[in-house]
Subunit: 198 residues, 6 copies
């Protein structure tokens, strides 16, 4: 059943019909991951938007900075859970489990970050991210001060907020297209045991 289901409410282009740069990006992901995450195929229906989306994604998720890659994925999973976005919770939950080498963390953060195994610093990071996602108009000096208590700089605050904001967009695109998570994501990273506190 699952294999037969559509991955998008919209047409999904054949790879052969895509512009070279889009097809090459998809080929690279395929080579690295062993499969093509559906977000690439779904957004390829609009090549210009595809290019901008992934350029933005990479600018936020691959850049240098104080946030670890796992922390960036935590922000994605927590805010996507709050926005009821199936694709983002499942796909980024898989990545989070792998980066964090922790088979439990994605479910914890997606369902309720207050009940997750988190340091106070990471709890504060997600509190801020969720405020950006859900009540950004109420952001105020006190929210930035609460981050500084845990050693986050204002540049870190931008990073956290920008990731939460980008996935506010991404969650809406996934819900709008009824984007389907690849079957491959569900079991990823679920077997290794956590080796150390995070």
């Amino acid at each position: 059943m699952s294999d037969a289901a559509a991955i998008s409410r919209f047409p999904v282009p054949a790879l052969a019909d895509l512009p070279d740069d889009v097809r090459e990006r998809i080929q690279q992901v395929q080579d690295k991951a062993g499969f093509v995450p559906n977000v690439f195929l779904v957004l390829a229906h609009r090549p210009d938007e595809f290019r901008a989306f992934f350029a933005y994604h990479d600018a936020l998720m691959l850049k240098d900075g104080n946030l670890t890659k796992a922390e960036r994925e935590m922000i994605v999973v927590a805010t996507s859970g709050a926005n009821d976005c199936l694709y983002c919770v499942v796909a980024h939950g898989a990545i989070l489990r792998i980066y964090e080498k922790n088979p439990f963390i994605a479910d914890q953060v997606a369902v309720n970050h207050r009940r997750a195994d988190l340091t106070p610093r990471r709890r504060a990071m997600l509190d801020f991210a969720l405020k950006v996602s859900l009540r950004a108009s109420e952001l105020d000096d006190a929210d930035y001060a609460a981050l500084r208590v845990h050693g986050f700089t204002d540049e870190d605050a931008w990073d956290i907020a920008a990731i939460a904001a980008f996935f506010a967009m991404s969650n809406r695109l996934a819900n709008m297209t009824s984007m389907r998570p690849n079957d491959e994501f569900y079991p990823m990273g679920r077997t290794p045991r956590p080796a150390k506190p995070q």
Copy 2:
């Protein structure tokens, strides 16, 4: 880290200190499942409440009726997701995957039942369950009529609503005690592939 974490904000009794009937119930679960789900240990802090809780649980989840066991667990997972209850999503998600022989269904239903692989009948069942969970004061004739369109009787409506109501309680107890899901639940039922449409 995960193993060392407390499973409850409240004291957890030693099995030896429990009343016989409570200990025996726990022993039975241990024998059947191979481990003791934490809800048994956490609620054993209050034996009278333990007895009533599981008597109620069994009356709703083990009774005869038109709802399959998997469908009952779907109601639990969907409403627990809406209530941000980590323990219930993880523990009952595992049971749902096993009953349904579908490694994807629990995450789908917990995050957003509108994006899950569901028949229209099951979609209507969860729409009703979520209204009971989130806006029961607004229930009206139209909600029962919407179930009947899909062949649900009024007795089925009671079953759906009673399960949603019981887990409205259970979700609050789990959040109040900071009940921790057992590590064992996370990977359960994730490997088999679905054999047929549900």
Copy 3:
């Protein structure tokens, strides 16, 4: 009009058709109260659920502990008001007025506990109960600390939360069945004047 109205959306069994233990429990209530509160008749449609419901109710409402019986009923009335549950507000409001010997307290607590004649300790108790009822996923250490300021122990916190959680279920069952309050409840306990501050 009121007499003719149905007390439940579901069939209400004749006493003669009930299992002995259920009929006896109902008979005891009749003997004590002079009438049968409709919750007994409505839930008797499902004897197993009836038994578990009242066993749970008694475990929470009749147990020893630091909360007075009136305080337990206050929690019921405040949370049932927040959940727009007519049966529970009217029936438990009557009991609260009698226990507290105060004809005003039930309406005050049902409509807005912030405007009720309450000691700061009871105000804190209801603040906690309402958070369990309405936003349990956000419960945190600070909520338990706020109770301790007023002398509540963690066991008291469990009591408050468990009552709020049980009536989260009960409110949903009453709304699901369109459970009708008995006419007898409305005027109960409205005449005596309060004798002392509560």
Copy 4:
């Protein structure tokens, strides 16, 4: 306790210190009702606002039109319940019971109008009133059409909406002043039995 409590967070003027017209209005109410409802004393702190408030109240509640006096009070009680306004629920609940000669109707409408003993016409009237009170910005042609189905004219719609709007103000004034309901209101109209369907 109740007698000693303040009726307002703000100073309450002595009758002797009030302008003649304000004092006379209060005297008339005293003569008619046998006591002075606290809203008169609380608002007398601001005589100009007192005059405008009661002029507006009378223009809406005493005017001719298709709505009965009981129906106008129903709108007040239902919307005040939704706004958690203790003074308005208790004071206007008393008046509603008397006008309607029904000791149950005020509690029903204040807690959940969907569970009240109402004709479909009155149910539609309160649905509209509550939308004005809670989501007026979303009012649309369909809301007026839903009233017409039950024989309400557009002038009736204005009446319903204007009462809901006036008590949106009144509820906020009562909550802002911590206006205390007179003890006299609580038992009023609770003894007579309803004589006929409403």
Copy 5:
């Protein structure tokens, strides 16, 4: 298009058909402003309500007190923005720009007072006004204390709250009648530059 649009969902009386006092009040506004704001024409459909509405308006907006006229209009614009009331935002936004001699302030306050150019005192004033408008049932001592920090007396608190409450009514009347702002309001007060900090 704009000129042809109806200014109310209800009949708008001809000036000649109005009672003398209502017509005179409208004439005075016409003489002073150069046009008749539509709220006068729309409410003139109900002369008694017209009289009470404007008497109340004047008692709150023209009275002496510590709040400047601009500050009173700020309260109107901020709360009307929160209530999505087109007429009140546009009409009172124009008046606010003129009183404050600031072409930016109305848009800032209507969209998000947290991002407006406001002194901390005015920010606190609007925080209080918005709580009255949106969550009056939760008002508590702490809200009055927060005003006192900025030098507001309890009488000032009443003024702020009463204006917020009056426009809670007014916003609902405007949305109920689909009251259309006059074209004249939109450009008013937009050209002068602010001369000094407010």
Copy 6:
């Protein structure tokens, strides 16, 4: 005061310090508009994010398609109003007034699109956009069907949703940075009268 205020909570780079492509883009805007909208300066603090942001913006706002440029700006203004984003309401409101040659439309759409001068087609467009912005997880077949009634294709639906999603991100970035609208935007497009119905 206004001129002196910071345009961002974060450092704003000098043009001379920017990468050539970023500076050139800013120079082009300056040449065309006569001033530099602050969003360019605020986001230039992060050149990679700047590039992706404007590439995405252009892909959505400058592309061919059935939506007019004015309609795209309407979507921006309506959703930004719902998200309380000052920068986006003021800046895009100016652009909307100019494109639409209508000095009223931006305020109407920002405050309450249900009270705006809109064709039923545009009303449906904004209903859909606001659902994407505020409740995307609830999107369903019925929402796409409602668009088709007014002649919108599924590609148009993508356009509407993608713009709403992009500004869900943009609104959060603006609120996170406390992005200040340029003074120039406020009066733009307010003088011309509308020439024809839109």
